[in-house]
Homo-oligomer: 332 residues x 2
DNA sequence: TTGTAGGCGTTATCAA
DNA sequence: TTGATAACGCCTACAA
């Protein structure tokens, strides 16, 4: 038979206060119909014993845990998306449970399902991850953050396509004959949308899109991409403007291009997406666009909380936040 | 009285398989002494019903949830520390529960205590947060990550003092008469240790430490600090070398110093701490030291897991990881 | 090898 | 206004 945990429970409080454990429950949960005097006695017993309500037992009987789960897969802006999610979840008095999912091995998904969470957030999920999730039996309300739309639940995301498109047009308007593209991580929905926006802008200008340079995230990846671009330049391909799928690529890009004698911005123009804080401070400052990842994360979490708490439609109808597209003052 | 949740339980599986719910429990938990044939029937019922073990009910009776809680407060390297923690926790088949604590308002602490977690990680906690934690009644095993030592539990951290000291000596050896310091966030233990190392090195060289420049984290803060340094330089103070408490300050520092005509590295030398990936790609590359935050996070989590799972002393004895001090090849 | 009984700490219902 | 009682879904101990 099970053992008592050692920490005091409602029964202990009840005994000390000379009431039933049910009355303790009423006091703890602020239910009406308890004589003030009794409530005071109970409260005294609670502090004297250092009693804290057992969330597990509560969850067992109420079928809600106050926990929100987040699947996450490393991608562009995952950190800021999660930071927004965390803030909203915390503001709602709930706790966030984070599981990092390896896209190649989505076993972590199972683990999160074993826990009782009131709702799920799929942060920057790949299509295959969503498929895995969708194939599972009964799962709690789910909201997709920066992922492909899927019957699993509503999607919340910024207009990456529009942002990339606008930046590409911006470069073309500056007189460049074409714009090259360093992509984001393979399998990333955000990266795919940004690439699509770049392609769309070129198509609108009647330009054949040059072969994109495979990228990812981070300055080291950007450095590798910069070397690839420099090689193609050396091979005779005219390269004058580059749109990087992510700001974090920029420092490495600048570095590699400079090493190859392609100084930014004199010989080559570079724009990024994401408005990372460092972008203003690079030399030269990176032209970029803010896609508001923190706001997206917060919004997604709030939509999920609405669903979980049965508040219908407060926020659910609008599927995407408009990006606050502010281009930083670049050198060109 | 409580309502059944709708999802199948052991009783449902048992009924379908024609056994008792106890036998189901045995099969699910891999206990011996079940006839293979019976086990197969149970397993068939499980898949057919899509049964999953209810972690809450399990936690209620076993007094262990499989959950590890992390308090976190925004600081230098919090992200990488957490990433290491997450990896180790996940590798152990457990789930991480993250709570961000506002150091000025540690109410989140209460929240995490309401949940049943098997162990706590205090990631980059302030002294006051530890005091709040320590004042609480019964709390689970705790490990402090990059925080001041405290009776709450073992501390794990890199040798920030040594790293800062070594870098300061490195600058002095290069002929600088003194080294200025841009500090990290106020209240940060990491920042305090790094400042102490800087002070120690100057003291060892018989130099009076110049007034440190208040900093924090991030390029924008670095930019502000750079302007402050430039002002002091303009006011006649000889400034030739700067140790930034954190790499993320560097880009902003470079930017502000360059704007003030103090080109790095010609007019002024700058070193950072933390070995962020972008540091290699700045112009010029930043001299820095790796303090292995991911490894520290992993190690701390493993120590906690040892404590939680009753594995004594596997790792607990050694309180700090040695930093892999590799200075990147800077320009000076 | 399998089933029965009891209890983990809480909430909900009903009666007093 | 308060208390008894029955779940929630599971695990441990013991009996069969």
């Amino acid at each position: 038979m099970p053992v008592r945990s050692g920490t005091p429970g409602m029964v202990d409080v009840a005994r000390l206060a000379g009431v039933s454990h049910q009355t303790v429950s009423r006091v703890v949960n602020g239910h009406p119909g308890v004589r003030p005097e009794t409530a005071a006695r109970v409260r005294a017993a609670i502090t004297s014993l250092g009693y804290r309500r057992n969330a597990t037992a509560r969850a067992l009987v109420t079928h809600r845990s106050g926990l929100i789960g987040a699947f996450t897969t490393p991608d562009i802006d995952t950190d800021r998306l999660l930071s927004g999610v965390e803030a909203a979840v915390r503001a709602a008095g709930r706790t966030l449970l984070i599981t990092v999912v390896d896209p190649d091995d989505p076993t972590g998904v199972d683990r999160l399902l074993d826990r009782v969470v009131d709702g799920h957030l799929a942060v920057a999920p790949t299509t295959s991850l969503l498929a895995t999730l969708g194939a599972l039996p009964a799962r709690p309300p789910t909201v997709i953050v920066e992922g492909p739309s899927h019957p699993l639940g509503p999607s919340v995301g910024a207009d990456h396509r529009g942002a990339a498109r606008a930046l590409t047009h911006h470069l073309l308007d500056r007189g460049h004959r074409t714009v090259h593209h360093v992509t984001g991580p393979p399998g990333s929905h955000i990266a795919a949308e940004r690439a699509a926006g770049w392609r769309a802008a070129l198509a609108e200008a009647g330009i054949d899109a040059p072969e994109p340079v495979p990228g990812g995230t981070g300055p080291d990846t950007g450095h590798a991409a910069g070397r690839a671009l420099a090689d193609r330049h050396r091979a005779g391909e005219p390269i004058t403007a580059v749109l990087a799928a992510d700001d974090t690529l920029a420092a490495g890009l600048f570095h590699a291009l400079a090493d190859a004698g392609l100084h930014v911005p004199d010989r080559i123009a570079v724009a990024g997406i994401g408005d990372r804080p460092e972008s203003t401070h690079l030399a030269p400052a990176l032209t970029t666009v803010d896609t508001g990842p923190r706001a997206v994360g917060e919004r997604a979490a709030r939509i999920l909380l609405d669903m979980v708490e049965g508040r219908e439609g407060t926020d659910t109808t609008v599927p995407a936040t408009a990006p606050r597209t502010r281009a930083s003052t670049g050198h060109w």
